[in-house]
């Protein structure tokens, strides 16, 4: 009897967790094929903070890539500049868009091009979100 009650309780908690939306979610993820012979590429996506607290992404990594960095391209007085971002903050219930010509993820590919790419977003050492995606054709 006690065992059945415990199992029911665990199932109830799991169901509640499953129905709760993750604190951060990703949409419109697209990773264009890098230009052949070039180890650099970009990734674009929209990240949404579904929580009531600000989220600060301080690091992005991938087990399939040599490195991932958050960058921002800007156009100032006709000059295109690219800077590395140390963090990207997302206000509560707001989204941040990584898009061409603006914020983007800069991907450095290994010699062996991966078919699938996992992107992991961190706030310091805490994993916020992990997404699996594939390179566009």
């Amino acid at each position: 009897m006690m065992r059945r009650l415990l199992v029911s309780l665990v199932l109830l908690v799991l169901a509640a967790c499953a129905s709760e939306q993750a604190a951060m979610t990703a949409e419109n993820v697209h990773i264009p094929q890098p230009v052949p012979g070039v180890s650099m590429g970009a990734a674009y996506l929209t990240l949404t903070n579904n929580s009531d607290q600000e989220i600060s992404i301080t690091r992005v990594s991938s087990p399939n890539l040599t490195s991932v960095e958050m960058h921002e391209s800007t156009l100032q007085a006709g000059v295109s500049r690219m800077a590395k971002l140390q963090k990207v903050a997302i206000a509560p219930r707001q989204s941040v868009v990584f898009e061409p010509g603006a914020k983007h993820l800069m991907l450095r590919y290994p010699a062996q091009m991966p078919n699938q790419i996992t992107l992991q977003f961190f706030a310091d050492d805490a994993l916020l979100l992990s997404i699996d995606t594939i390179l566009e054709d």
Partner: protein, 204 residues
């Protein structure tokens, strides 16, 4: 109606059609540039000596004989450079429907010749179409070309040994005389090129 009246009606109709056609051709304002800036008078490029993707010399004279869309970028640029070259490639596709004698070629001049060898830039530009040239060479020779065009570029540290290159995002148009003819400022949109290039290329 007798034949004389038929004749008068036909002549009158011909006069109306001819008059309308003349007014459209002669009195309509010529199409206006939307985004490009045409130089009041084309200017000569500076003397420079660079290499094309085949390792062959590419000099001021190499611009002669073709219209060219010249962009300054580098192959390790993951965002703006491929984006701009895609826009230019799309503009060329849009221009296919125009009755141009020849489509302009796309020329990418590396502002990172330290990393962009002829082989590397050659492999890179092939991705953006057959009629796309990659140019590189000595930094001092790149400067001769860019300084004459008012194009800025400068290395900028990103992280450790890793660097980026800040650079003017302008697209320079050179004419078949090898002269600086016009420019397109960023941000770039393929439809803007497709609209303005036929105007620029028809009024040399």
């Amino acid at each position: 109606m007798d034949s004389r009246k038929y004749f008068i009606v036909i002549v009158a109709l011909l006069a109306i059609v001819t008059g309308t056609w003349m007014s459209v051709r002669v009195f309509s304002p010529p199409p206006q540039l939307q985004t490009a800036t045409r130089l009041p008078a084309p200017t000569e490029l500076a003397e420079f000596s660079l290499l094309d993707q085949g390792g062959e010399p590419f000099t001021r004279a190499s611009f002669k004989g073709r219209w060219s869309l010249v962009f300054f970028g580098f192959t390790q640029c993951p965002d703006v450079c491929p984006l701009t070259l895609q826009v230019l490639a799309k503009a060329r596709q849009l221009l296919v429907s125009e009755e141009l004698d020849e489509l302009p070629r796309i020329v990418l001049v590396s502002v990172d010749p330290e990393r962009d060898t002829p082989e590397i830039i050659g492999q890179y530009v092939t991705h953006f179409g057959d009629d796309t040239l990659g140019i590189t060479g000595e930094l001092s020779e790149v400067r001769k070309l860019t300084d004459g065009l008012g194009v800025y570029f400068e290395k900028s540290a990103v992280d450790g040994d890793n660097y980026s290159v800040d650079h003017s995002a302008v697209v320079i148009v050179t004419n078949p005389d090898g002269q600086f003819h016009a420019l397109f400022g960023a941000p770039h949109v393929a439809e803007n090129f497709a609209h303005d290039l036929p105007i620029l290329m028809s009024t040399e």
